[in-house]
Amino acid sequence: MKFGVVVFPGSNCDQDTVYVLKEILEQEVVTLWHKETDFDENVDVIILPGGFSYGDYLRSGALAKFSPIMNRVIEFANNGGYVFGICNGFQILCESGLLPGALLHNINQKFICKNIYITPDSKTSALTKYLPRNRVLKIPIAHGEGRYYADKDTIAQMRINGQILFRYCDENGVVSESANPNGSVENIAGVCNERHNVFGMMPHPERSSDDELGNTDGRLIFESLLSYLRDLSKKS
């Protein structure tokens, strides 16, 4: 598969993501500079990495949606292309309207970086379909604005459509208030759009993909995505 990783001037997880895709998962990767207006049609997935796109002094992702590359990413997504935003990338996707909801300041008003646990909700999406069953994933978070919010009706609709990808839980898989690190509504850690081709999550799977760091739960998410895309290409 061919991945395009978007690089904003304040992206700082771009190289971590490239490393995992290229060196660990052995995929083809191109980086896409924020000033570019186009990219190769053959890209299978666009990844918006973590970071602070344009400094994010206003509101995370609020400026990035106006960048030249985002015009093209939005068009790509609207044509059915796969787009995956991690952390700041998730924030940008919500700001751009490609994903429902918004990411607010953490409920404790602090930046939080630690390992947390998530459990898949929808079992049919590209990110979750091939995850091992009945297994929680240990994946780090690192954000100041990660409290997912959407109104009740939107959440209800998302539930019906299988758009809720991950919820924060404890190490036994129990979704509880004490396992919610940032106050997200219904412990939501990751979502997708109605069409199931745009994904966003606050936890960083690229930070838990390398054997040398002693945790590879994040790699399972990338592997699910790869298996899903391979299925698709077989069908077509």
Binding site: V20, F52, K110, A142, E212
Partner: protein, 742 residues
Amino acid sequence: MPNRKVTVETARELGLLPEEFEMIKSYLGRTPNYNELSIYSVMWSEHASYKNSIKWLKTLPRKGSAILAEAGTENAGLVDIGNGLACAFKIESHNHPCAVEPYQGAATGVGGINRDIFTMGARPVAQLNSLRFGNLRLDRTRWLIKGVVKGIGDYGNAFGIPVLAGEVFFDDSFNMNPLVNAMSVGLVDKDKVVSAVAKGKGNPVYIVGSATGKDGIHGATFASANITEDSAEDIPSIQVGDPFQEKILLEATQEVIKTGALVGMQDMGAAGIICSTSEMSEKGGHGMRIDLDRVPLRQQNMEAWEILLSESQERMLMVVTKGREADVEAVLNKWDISYAIIGEVTEGDMLEFFYHSELVAKVPASSLVLGGGAPVYDREYREPAYYKEYKKFDISSIPEPADLVDVARFLIAHYNIASKRWVYEQYDTMIGTGNMTTNFPSDAGVYNLKGTNKALVMTVDCNSRYVMADPMVGTMIAVSEAARNISCTGAKPLAITNCLNFGNPYNPEVYWQFVQAIKGMGIACERFDTPVTGGNVSFYNQASIGGKEEAVFPTPTIGMIGLLENKNHHTTLAFKDKGHMIYLIGKSVNDIASSEYLYSYHGIKASPAPYFNLDEEYEVQRVVRELIARNLIQSAHDVSDGGLFISLLECAMPRNLGFDITTDAEIRTDAFLFGEAQGRIVVSVSPSRETQFIDYMVASKVPFSTLGHVTKSEIRIDDLSFGFVADLKKIYDTALEQLING
């Protein structure tokens, strides 16, 4: 030239001594104008010139086969770590700004130390910090720690470099003066190091990055005076940080270096443009002609001296090969970074500054800098009376408490011992995907050198209380503890950087602490073969309140790096499984001197440094590294703050295991459990390796003893239950946040 009248009184107002004013006149052959006087005042401030410390700093061991840049020659230390790589690292203080504006003070401290690293062409890969605050029950302390931690976090998290290790310590002596020491560690290809040098007549000089404003003017001078009731009025001296600008500056400078068009580069930190122009010129044996009208400003009506001294953040000075301007500018344009050519390199060693077409300052570069014309002082020192008083302490004067479980719980919840997670969870510790201790906690930070078999190991250490009790021994302990932490991961210590935080050097008793600390550091660094690669001196960490001077505990923070040759040997502090045997390497001593137990539980402030023997310490560490290399132990954790009990608890908590141990009948039980005698490491051994372990230890002749074994969850000492690990962990994890949140 501008003609604000300059007299010895003007010099005094700018912090210069009358004899220094005379020196300036003799260098110039005339009375300096106000701009020039301002230049000398910052360049000869303690912060920039090291005038009261350099004599002693030069006694430190600075040479070693792996040292690529000797202390003082570049912006940071540079050590060869093999595979064609060099490690650039340095620690620096930002104490004074943090005392009045903790958020920006801490943020710009992180920014400044990182620029020191990437100005050498290195990419920062890890941050460390060492923090000291006053009594947590004071509102001021809570305001300071919240601001400092948020400042470090907001800047470092956006800049995108993980915090790998650090320490936080509280004591009343820091009530007015917090200490904020930030360290950065970077990597660079050995043959691609950039030097802070200006040479080649006619080469253009660029200012790159943020526009220059009135922030931070006289910051270096501010950092060279006591904190007083009026210090808040110095807030204009404090700089404001912009991590986004720093991030693009990092990426852009890395790309500029690749063009091959760069002659030299230096960041603008303390003393701004004047510092970078003079240091680069002096080093290259050239001069510069600078047109201050061309410096992009963010404020109107700035005077020449203000532009020269401004400490606006996120700026670099670059000297570029003439004719290659377009290559450099293409990179800067790509990153949307503003820049301007502000002058050129000239022959000779004269710095000439023009403003509004007028020559406003003309000074020889060499007269400004350390090792050139900057003054060097021999300060008087005298042993303070308390030193001998402290030594009179006798353990038998302290009754042994009947309830040691109560002592254990007191210490677990003590702010100097309890988990610092309230602090470090606000820092991004995992970005860069190199932190090997997230899932395998160790005594030191371990950074994966991807694509090699190695890992880079790092730590910051200093127990200020020990240094107060005995500056020489306390500093030897600081070096030893750093080395011990590195050794416990399996790595070999390589080199150090230091951040020397003391009171007023003109006070002979304070200066005695400084001199003793340097002596101790020299001896310990020789023994561990860890040369000093540079660092920072921060004097005047004392408050004058109501005319009374109160200095902080002397704190020579040691930042050390080490190398793990085989990263598969990376050893954690965590017990692995129940049934594993627990041993203590090193000897148990009947000592509670300067322990947290004595100081806080008994409230006895006067005691000497804890038991310490440098040769024993060295042997204990050597043996533990060898045990790790031979795969004979499952975990290693040193005994430090809180003593053996706390160390065992820290080994037990990560996997929710317990331990069952027996104390030594020869030693008071409180000393055995809570004493802080140095040179001890707790290791665990799996049953299958026990025979080999014992054989090796017996042959090594290093003292060791059996403590007990790892249990499923209960903690038992001499058949008495101290509770279950999960309950104690809860106290340990939450004590600090409860205190901070009030």
